[in-house]
Symmetry: C2
Subunit: 264 residues, 2 copies
């Protein structure tokens, strides 16, 4: 079989990428990229240029859009809560130096590991067009607007979520599946932050009161316990001042290596 130089090079890059994945060097959940210590970095900064080329559309690597940053669709509640937590991500010492605060804002992309599908057969069309479910709508404010902050010290995590008009279920209210999607996303992110790569094994969701379309809510997650490969996380969805409980849930996550997912 004859391959062109470009094909060989692309194949080599993919192999490097898959080796890194099988060594567990990548966050399988692709929700966020973190170093093992939990400190945050720009998602590609820990990856050398060759691997970056394998991750991003070759040959032109570009800066992907970070969806966790404010945009013009964000309402006053969303902006206020974003500022509240974001202002605690970096603090100034008495000497005027800046250092990390107790919270970390997690960046969010519409896809990260473009070629990390390994053992799964996907058509080229699906592969090239695939997008993260929660970031698949181009129109700002139409669907999921959210930002996640984690607090390593208290082992908790909050997500400020504004539900757009394309998430309707019962008339005028957010679809139960859209709420489940945010719960899976945030509890999964928290479990990954605490335990490294995980897969969702169970979600148990109690819907208490419907969420009006267009409103902003808070998802607050905390660690219940860790047992071997299992991480148990609980989550509450409330209005912005936490006076009304909309939904509560528990999530069970299993630690995995990328090999589990790639079938290798």
């Amino acid at each position: 079989m004859i391959r062109t130089g470009v094909q060989q090079m692309a194949r080599g890059l993919c192999q490097i990428m898959r080796r890194e994945i099988s060594k567990g060097n990548f966050n399988n959940n692709i929700r966020q990229q973190m170093t093992p210590r939990g400190t945050l970095q720009f998602p590609w900064s820990s990856i050398n240029s060759v691997r970056t080329m394998a991750v991003l559309p070759w040959p032109f690597a570009f800066q992907p859009r970070d969806f966790s940053l404010p945009n013009t669709s964000w309402g006053s509640d969303m902006r206020r809560l974003y500022e509240h937590y974001n202002s605690q991500c970096e603090v100034e010492t008495d000497d005027g130096e800046k250092k990390w605060g107790v919270w970390r804002r997690l960046p969010s992309y519409n896809r990260s590991l473009k070629y990390a599908t390994g053992g799964v057969y996907l058509s080229k069309i699906i592969q090239s067009k695939a997008r993260l479910f929660t970031r698949n709508i181009r129109e700002q404010g139409a669907a999921f607007e959210y930002v996640v902050f984690v607090n390593k010290q208290e082992q908790k995590c909050v997500c400020v979520f504004q539900a757009g008009h394309l998430l309707e279920g019962p008339p005028g209210h957010v679809h139960g599946g859209a709420i489940a999607t945010m719960i899976d996303t945030v509890t999964g992110t928290h479990a990954t932050y605490l335990s490294g790569p995980v897969m969702t094994a169970n979600l148990n969701i109690n819907y208490r009161s419907p969420i009006p379309l267009g409103s902003t809510v808070l998802l607050t997650c905390s660690l219940d316990k860790k047992e071997g490969r299992k991480t148990f996380v609980s989550c509450q969805v409330t209005n912005t001042d936490s006076s009304k409980l909309h939904t509560e849930a528990t999530g069970l996550f299993l630690s995995i290596t990328m090999g589990h997912l790639l079938g290798g």
Copy 2:
């Protein structure tokens, strides 16, 4: 306060609509429209012309697109299973007459009760642009392609679901939230078919094996029990020949009147 004739007329139509809703004449879930006996009709056929005008964009009522019908994005598995169940929706008697079979295909729209938000305050922009979460993507095949069939005799329900490239979670696989969304949709539809208007109270989902992006799966629902206002439904998500279990879940649904949702 002075109102123009058009404003008064529009207000009158909305009042009629809300009266019907408060009497429980409408399926609150808006997933499908059924008569009390569970026989299927074109969703607007049981509503007189005045109410139709209140439901559809006034003054020009149109036929909304039925998303449960085949389109060019459907793969061979999706088409084959659609044909399998659809061929059992209508049977021919020995006399050559046609009659209902054991299955019913449920039509599916991207929104039904345009003005049924009653007590919920929504901005005019959100109100006019709201779309059902599972039918909010215009591109065929990109997200949720599904069709639901119910079997009154056996009190079961199946959904053929093709997961598009915009539903990605773990690389190359369907997002847990997208699976939860389909489970909520299909179990909720089944509960509505059995018990009338309901709201989701609990979903308990066990994820057994990930679903590759682009694949077609079957959701099979059955009634577990009914206790007063509660309807318990279970659901299994399998590959198309039911040899592999991807996800299993239970759903608890509470019977309601539209007044519950509208806060009236």
